[in-house]
């Protein structure tokens, strides 16, 4: 069983579209994250949720909206996609908020044309 799974693995779409990326963890962790990795492999946190509560909200355009229906899921919805949104998006989880080990999903490669 995959610990942190995200779907889809690849997402190709046109500018202006709305898309979602789903993430699920089966580790029983309290905290989940979304990270963005750009073309230069620079990795930056976008959001984190602890028990469905938003903890971290970095300077991210409000076109990006995370949704956590329960603590095992953290989905990322993106409205009005732009070329600059093209990146690899990683979901991650940790046992609790703090400085615990992060478990990462295998990433979603988003390409906006």
């Amino acid at each position: 069983d995959t610990a942190v799974s995200q779907t889809p693995k690849y997402l190709v779409t046109q500018m202006g579209n709305d898309k979602s990326i789903k993430c699920e963890q089966n580790l029983g962790h309290d905290t989940m994250y979304w990270y963005k990795q750009d073309s230069k492999k620079f990795l930056k946190i976008m959001f984190s949720y602890n028990n469905k509560e938003l903890i971290i909200n970095e300077t991210v355009p409000n076109r990006f909206s995370p949704k956590s229906p329960d603590k095992a899921h953290l989905n990322l919805h993106i409205n009005s996609l732009e070329l600059g949104d093209s990146a690899v998006y990683f979901c991650a989880s940790s046992q609790r908020t703090g400085n615990e080990k992060l478990f990462f999903g295998s990433g979603t490669q988003l390409s906006v044309l």
């Binding site: 620079f42 990795l43 984190s48 903890i55 971290i56 991650a92 703090g98 400085n99 080990k101 992060l102």
Partner: protein, 116 residues
């Protein structure tokens, strides 16, 4: 504000040779330090972490790192690399001051290329 600098973007090395990947950080508070590895087309995996105690930290796959507070460094080492160690390596820092949110700040990454 914290930051992490990985001094080498690419490190080519021959198989069975030793390797050191350099990482420096800046922070006004005490920190936790991490090294993560990313194999091609995969997510990141934790190699090792320094929270407190002994400054020499041993991780998985034969890697180790040494925390040097005076030099604000946390360099990663392996005495003998394998082809399978070819990957992207990320150094990261997290504060544990007030308002700790567990946010990790990552360095730019170092590509380790192990040649036969």
């Amino acid at each position: 504000a914290q930051s992490v600098t990985q001094l080498d973007s690419q490190v080519p090395v021959f198989e069975e040779a030793p390797v050191e990947l350099r990482c420096n950080y800046s922070s006004s508070v005490s920190v936790y330090l991490f090294w993560y590895v990313q194999y091609p087309n995969q997510g990141l995996q934790l190699l090792l972490k320094y929270l407190s105690g002994s400054t020499l930290v041993k991780g998985i796959n034969g890697f180790e790192a040494e925390f040097n507070k005076s030099q604000t460094s946390f360099h990663l080492r392996k005495p003998s690399v394998h082809i399978s160690d070819t990957a992207e390596y990320f150094c990261a820092v997290s504060d544990y001051g007030s308002g700790n949110t567990g946010k990790l700040i990552f360095g730019q990454g170092t590509t380790l290329q192990v040649k036969p």
